[in-house]
Amino acid sequence: MLLREVAYASPSSLAEALELLAADDGARALAGGQTLINVMKARAGSPDTLVDLNGLDGLKGIELGADGTLEIGAMTTYTEIMASSEARARPILGEVCAQIADVQVRNRGTIGGNVCTNDPTNHLPPLLAALNAQFTIAGASGERTVSSDDFFLGVYLTAVGTGELLTKVTIPAGRNDGFAAVTLGVEGTCIVSAAASLNGSVRIALGCVDAVPVVLTPPSDDADAVKQAVRDATMEPPSDVHASSEYRRHLAEVLAVRAVDQARGGA
């Protein structure tokens, strides 16, 4: 419960935030804090400086483009996504956000924090990977956009580099999505998750089987093709107290099929 000493800044502009992050190698962005503060309590990680993004209104909000593209500010909370009429353009977003942790966490936790943490148990990395989202990263030298394939680099590691910030997540138009997870109890810690999107092609992403979401693009959405694609992925999922590697591999198959089924049902 007792954090190591840390400096705190609450910038009011993106430029200021980027400056603070660039100034200190040990600085970390504080979004909703629903993971980071817990890691700091355990003193398993101890940034020197926290740059609080909660004052950056420019990073909040959801916009629906004329072509159906959704742009979600990195500091938008799960609760805001669930309540957003714009976000309903891609209903799976609200559905999955509603399964994240609990009311209190959803009130503070943000889409940006979720993907930048990239804890294997998080739901949004596989979901956004399946939806083929684009991630806009701002830095001293301007903005760049990376695809989900390039965004997730490892546990707690993403393409967001030192001195940079994720500013928004862009999700292309589409409707035929699905998500399935096996968790500890109802909506508890994730054991394995799978997200699927059938908008034109079949795109599946598996969560909690590797350091980053495992993306599959089977040639068709029939169950056998999906299962085969999971088998072909030659994953070596981690074993832990909740699941053996073998069980995770099996769940990946089952859940991928279920996510695809849900996506197909949405057609």
């Binding site: 970390r28 890691v39 490892g154 107290v241």
Partner: protein, 150 residues
Amino acid sequence: MNVSGERTFAAPRDAVWKVLNDPASMAKTMPGVESFDVHDDLRWTANVKIPLGLGGLKMKVDMEKVEERAPEHAALNIKGKGVGAMMSMKTSFDLSEADGAGTLMKWAADVKIAGPVGSMGQRVIQPIVNQQVSHVLAALEREVQNAVAG
């Protein structure tokens, strides 16, 4: 946790051996090395800050070479002590002439992590260890190439 693998370097065995047994070269392969002290041929100490995304994990790492048969085999005991974690690792590598050309390295490590970081769950630790291992191997590759080129 046991991790192991094989890697082939496009370099002669002596060159690879030299890199693996040169503390200065090894220092360059380790993640987040901030300082490095060589005590003698067999014992080194490094201060590292392993980049973990949510804040680096600072550790003092003591390495001791416990077995050596140039140019084919070495084993090291590595002990890391940080505030968030205790790490102990026994690692060994065996070098042989690769079938085609170059050098085949077979390596294995038994990694134990305790402390608050250890309690973060194997599904987190295991990928992190794999990540760090792949960084080390990539860096090693670079060092070997530099050595050959140099």
